[in-house]
């Protein structure tokens, strides 16, 4: 089930045509006025990223659309790509005009291979319509085209530098940053990596105007946001909400008012207990790339924590020490809690380890993998601490 999405109301090509008419400087200015931030999770301002790429020097530049959508509980990019692919390609082409790129790559999650034919058909039509290829969108000398590349199922390949490594044919392992992709990306060239949804919004902004976008949401979190909502609720699905919406409102719409907690931002996000449901979904409060998982009253939060930690133990690339070994220790700790053999002292040690992982890991995966564990320990002391050794009745 879904609400009516803005994407259904914006015509394909409209944003791109507008962009082609105004050119690089005005596109960058429009993105700045719209104040749009990345929809992939980190919320990096789009205008800053595009500006950096535009300023970077390189013999060629790339636009990469991150369609790896691997965060547990996220499925909004799938919907966008299957129903509004044109907006995404419009967005990539707009980004290319802004950054001065010649080539686009759509990095498609391996499991989405079933969409490949349809997406290729869209691309073929766009070439026929002059939106791609020589003098794309009628801009003389702007020869932009898009290639689709498939991922192979590693969650970490959604991290932009691991994605680039994967594109280059290497192990999907995040790189050291700096240098950032806008400077040294795919093949060492300046590269813009943006989320599917971000690019589609960019097309809408060009079509409808920056003010329209900026009016929605909060000061720091402009615009609407797609949320993939799943778990213990009556109407799971993809919804569009203005950023700044409270968790309570969201839960009301999806039919989950009895929720005990929600996991916002997927496995790497945080677990918010019912007491905090007035908090806002926004970059300045509870940020999310789009995943919201609802936990009903019957859920055992230790199971929830275990489920997330198992995910990270599987998905860490294994490159850096805190994440490679730390996730395993946290999972072991959860097993010990379940068995009643984890002392309070060791639990404190694990929480402290979690804090180290958050700051010392090399990439966002290890920096956020302890979040769920830490927030569950913090917010559900009765369910967790009650299981520490010596506290079991």
């Amino acid at each position: 089930m879904s609400t009516e999405l803005t994407f259904s109301q914006v015509d394909p090509y409209a944003g791109l045509k507008a962009a082609a008419g105004i050119g690089r400087a005005d596109i960058l200015a429009t993105m700045k006025t719209a104040n749009i931030r990345g929809r992939g999770g980190a919320g990096f301002p789009v205008s800053v990223k595009w500006n950096l790429a535009a300023a970077a020097v390189g013999p060629e530049k790339f636009i990469v659309c991150n369609a790896d959508e691997g965060e547990p509980g996220t499925f909004k990019d799938r919907l966008v790509l299957s129903e509004h692919a044109d907006l995404v390609f419009d967005g990539m082409t707009i980004a290319a005009i802004a950054a001065g790129a010649q080539k686009g790559i759509l990095y498609l999650r391996g499991e989405y291979v079933y969409m490949l034919n349809d997406l290729e058909t869209v691309l073929a039509r766009r070439r026929e319509d002059g939106m791609l290829g020589q003098n794309s969108a009628g801009r003389i000398g702007f020869d932009f085209d898009v290639e689709i590349r498939l991922g192979s199922g590693a969650y970490v390949c959604g991290e932009e530098t691991a994605l680039i490594e994967s594109l280059e044919g290497h192990r999907g392992e995040p790189r050291n940053r700096p240098p950032f992709p806008v400077d040294t990306g795919y093949l060492g060239r300046p590269t813009v990596v943006n989320n599917v949804e971000t690019l589609a919004w960019a097309a809408c902004i060009l079509a409808r105007g920056a003010e329209w976008f900026n009016r929605i949401g909060t000061e720091q979190s402009a615009g609407p946001k797609l949320l993939s909502i799943s778990g213990d609720c009556e109407n799971p699905g993809v919804y569009e909400f203005p950023l700044g919406v409270s968790i309570t409102e969201v839960l009301k719409v999806v039919g989950a008012e009895d929720a005990k907690a929600v996991q916002i931002g997927g496995a790497s996000g945080q677990c918010v207990p019912a007491g905090n449901f007035e908090r806002k979904i926004a970059f300045e409060d509870v940020a999310t790339g789009g995943s919201i998982i609802v936990f009903g009253p019957g859920r055992d939060m230790l199971d929830v924590a275990r489920n997330f930690m198992e995910f990270f133990v599987d998905e860490s690339c294994g490159q850096c020490t805190p994440c490679r070994e730390g996730n395993e220790k946290l999972l072991e700790g959860i097993e010990m809690l379940a068995a009643g053999t984890c002392s309070m002292k060791y639990l404190r040690e694990l929480c402290s380890l979690g804090k180290t992982m958050q700051v010392a890991s090399k990439c966002g995966l290890g920096q956020s993998s302890p979040n769920a564990f830490l927030s569950i320990v913090e917010h559900f002391p009765d369910e967790i601490l009650g299981r520490a050794e010596g506290t079991v009745a």
Binding site: A154, H170, R171, E173, R175, N176, P178, P179, T184, G188, V313, D314, E315, S316, C317, G318, Q319, C320, T321, P322, R324, E325, G326, N327, E328, K329, E349, S352, L353, K355, T356, Q358, V359, A360, S361, K362, Q367
Partner: protein, 642 residues
């Protein structure tokens, strides 16, 4: 390691997973004055743009611990031991991987940083199975030092009680014990980046990550060239050389055995480091005494056969040139490649089998020595060769493989029984209760104790070429090497650039010395020619040179090229003391050149014992029948097969 600025293209035969993660430094920032002031622990420091935080801190004596960082290798940023706090940034940053491009305020040991380091060390120890007492790297282990430095007093996250992996003992050169591996990937980067062999890779993910060979095969079954460079850069005891000291002790303790040891030039320049001396402190004569006290019956100088190599390999080169230039024989393979580095030989056999005809057929000095000890020496001394145990002290792990090659039995026995590394020798010396620096000095034993400065410099990259040129100048041009180069120091072939090209015009020729009279009528055909030679060290550089030859580049015009598998040449060999850095290798090179200068006789062809040997034993002269049987060999085109 610097490369030839002439950016010769190399092919991509090695996997590239960890490559390219180099911190890029903008060109010429010093020139345009692009310096940035950073504040580290309250001190303002001006550094060139692009300097890493680690480099900046080191420059000012601020110590930041490291584990995966190595001065010879590209940045990895994986262990996270070197994290520091940067003001205004939420996460800590790996100082080894963070290039400074803007003014930063950095703190290197805040409570958060110390906690992170301690956690990281604890996490590593929770997966580290090993007992320091029984470990070759005891007291020389970076993990152990870190644990001490950060006051590890208990295993916070546990400690394995039994091994998780089986040791891989299959290779003659390198033993892998992955129970001690901390996944710093230095070995991977060494093998791929430094050597471009690419035997080791990180396999699997997350906590299953392991360093593996192709399909996890034993090291003996993959294309490892035995260079041991990975051992030298491993911070722990996960990689060690295959250690035959027990067998050597057993031979020494067996009264029926006559145990000889030949010692190569590089171990003398390095072994002092194992006894706490500064790198570059030569221990040649102290070591001779120590070896005798350990119980070796004779202590010989491998430099003797280095001189012999020069004569044999030089003769071979002159014959090739004669065939090509005078007899116009187009089948002659030129340039001729040196063959004294067994890692390089195996590299060729695997990766460039089609170019094996270019290899000199001369054996390495170690194997020439082996063949002579169990023939000439045995005969001369009246010892039954089956009672001789011939040991070689080498800076090299590939020498262990070399002496076990099935073809290295031309004496009728295994020509060299055991190859010991510098590190293993230091251990034996310590075991004998000897503190090496305290030893009185003594000389080598006759008859193979006489060598020249030319033999000594075999230890440094460019040394073989310099030795060869000294002799060629004198034997062909009829002038003294000193007349062309001050003190016969042929500086252009020295240095640490990855590849070097040198030209030597032959303006005049002299009379043909007696030993060559059978081979060439005169030298007139060389008059006016320009001898072109190349020097190259590290197999990554070798690859560039070989590809350049194939593409008809500068190196294809060479007549003779020296190749050494190890960066720096033998002095940086896989059997040398750990650690190794560019500075340490430079200090060892200095020790080697100093020893060369100290010799009265500095040219191989002036070694009187060599000519005695040709007179009495190798009676049909250089490259003659007997020498071919004992001192030359043939190679196996292995390709990807073993």
């Amino acid at each position: 390691m610097t490369d030839n600025p002439k950016d010769i293209k190399s092919s991509d035969r090695a996997p590239k997973a960890q490559r390219g993660q180099v911190v890029q430094k903008p060109d010429g920032v010093d020139a345009i004055g692009a310096k940035i002031t950073v504040n580290i622990d309250g001190q303002d420091i001006k550094v060139p743009m692009g300097t890493t935080i680690l480099e900046a801190a080191r420059k000012f004596g601020i110590r930041i611990p490291t584990l995966c960082h190595h001065d010879d290798l590209c940045v990895a940023g994986v262990c996270r031991v070197c994290v520091v706090e940067i003001e205004g940034q939420r996460a800590l940053q790996a100082s080894c991987a963070y290039p400074i491009t803007s003014p930063l305020k950095i703190k290197t040991h805040t409570p958060q940083v110390r906690r992170a380091r301690r956690h990281i060390i604890d996490l590593l120890l929770s997966k580290h199975y090993g007992e320091c007492y029984t470990c070759f790297r005891n007291n020389n282990c970076e993990l152990q030092s870190l644990a001490k430095e950060y006051g590890v007093d208990f295993f916070r996250f546990g400690h394995p009680e039994k091994p998780m992996y089986e040791k891989d003992n299959s290779s003659y050169a390198v033993v892998r014990d992955m129970n001690k591996c901390v996944l710093c990937r230095r070995c991977v980067r060494t093998c791929i980046d430094l050597q471009e062999v690419g035997v080791l890779e990180a396999a699997h993910r997350s906590s299953d990550t392991r360093i593996e060979t192709f399909l996890d095969k034993p090291l003996s079954d993959v294309v490892c060239i035995n260079c041991g460079q990975c051992i030298n850069r491993c911070p722990t005891g996960a990689l060690t050389a295959n250690d035959p000291t027990d067998e050597v002790w057993a031979a020494i303790d067996d009264p029926t055995k006559h145990v000889t040891i030949q010692t190569a030039p590089s171990p003398r320049a390095g072994i002092g480091e194992c006894f706490g001396l500064e790198p570059g402190t030569p221990m040649t004569f102290e070591m001779n005494t120590a070896l005798r006290r350990c119980g070796f019956d004779k202590v010989f100088d491998t430099n003797f056969t280095a001189d012999l190599t020069i004569i044999e390999e030089g003769t071979e080169l002159l014959l090739r040139l004669y065939k090509a230039l005078v007899e116009k024989d187009e089948t002659v393979a030129l340039p001729q490649f040196t063959s004294c580095s067994p890692g390089w030989v195996k590299f060729m056999e695997h990766f460039y089998p089609e170019m094996l005809p270019n290899m000199s057929s001369a054996k390495s000095p170690q194997q020439m020595f082996g063949a002579l000890i169990k023939t000439f020496y045995a005969e001369q001394q009246g010892i039954d060769p089956s009672n001789i145990v011939s040991v070689a002290l080498m800076p090299c792990s590939a020498k262990k493989f070399e002496c076990n090659r099935p073809e290295m039995t031309d004496s009728g026995f295994k020509d060299v029984d055991y190859g010991l590394t510098t590190r293993e020798m230091a251990k034996m010396i310590s075991e004998a209760g000897i503190h090496l620096p305290d030893m009185p000095k003594s000389d080598f034993d006759a008859p193979f104790g006489t060598a020249t400065g030319s033999g000594v410099i075999f230890g440094a990259t460019g040394g073989v070429m310099e030795a060869a040129l000294r002799s060629v100048i004198e034997l062909v041009c009829g002038v003294r090497a000193e007349d062309l180069f001050e003190h016969a120091n042929i500086i252009p072939v020295r240095g640490f650039e990855g590849t070097r090209l040198v030209e030597l015009p032959i303006e005049n020729v002299g009379p043909v010395p007696d030993v060559f009279k059978k081979l060439v009528p005169n030298w007139d055909w060389l008059k006016g020619a320009t001898l072109k030679v190349g020097v190259c060290h590290g197999t990554a550089n070798a690859k560039k040179v070989l590809d350049d030859i194939k593409n008809g580049g500068e190196f294809s015009k060479c007549h003779f090229i020296e190749f050494m598998a190890c960066p720096g040449g033998c002095l940086g060999g896989g059997g040398q003391p750990i650690p190794t850095t560019p500075e340490i290798r430079a200090a060892r090179a200095e020790a080697i050149y100093a020893e060369d200068r100290s010799y009265g006789v500095r040219k191989s062809h002036e070694n009187p014992v060599i000519w005695e040997l040709y007179e009495k034993f190798l009676t049909d002269g250089p490259c003659g029948h007997i020498s071919h049987k004992l001192l030359h060999t043939q190679y196996t085109a292995r390709g990807k097969y073993i």
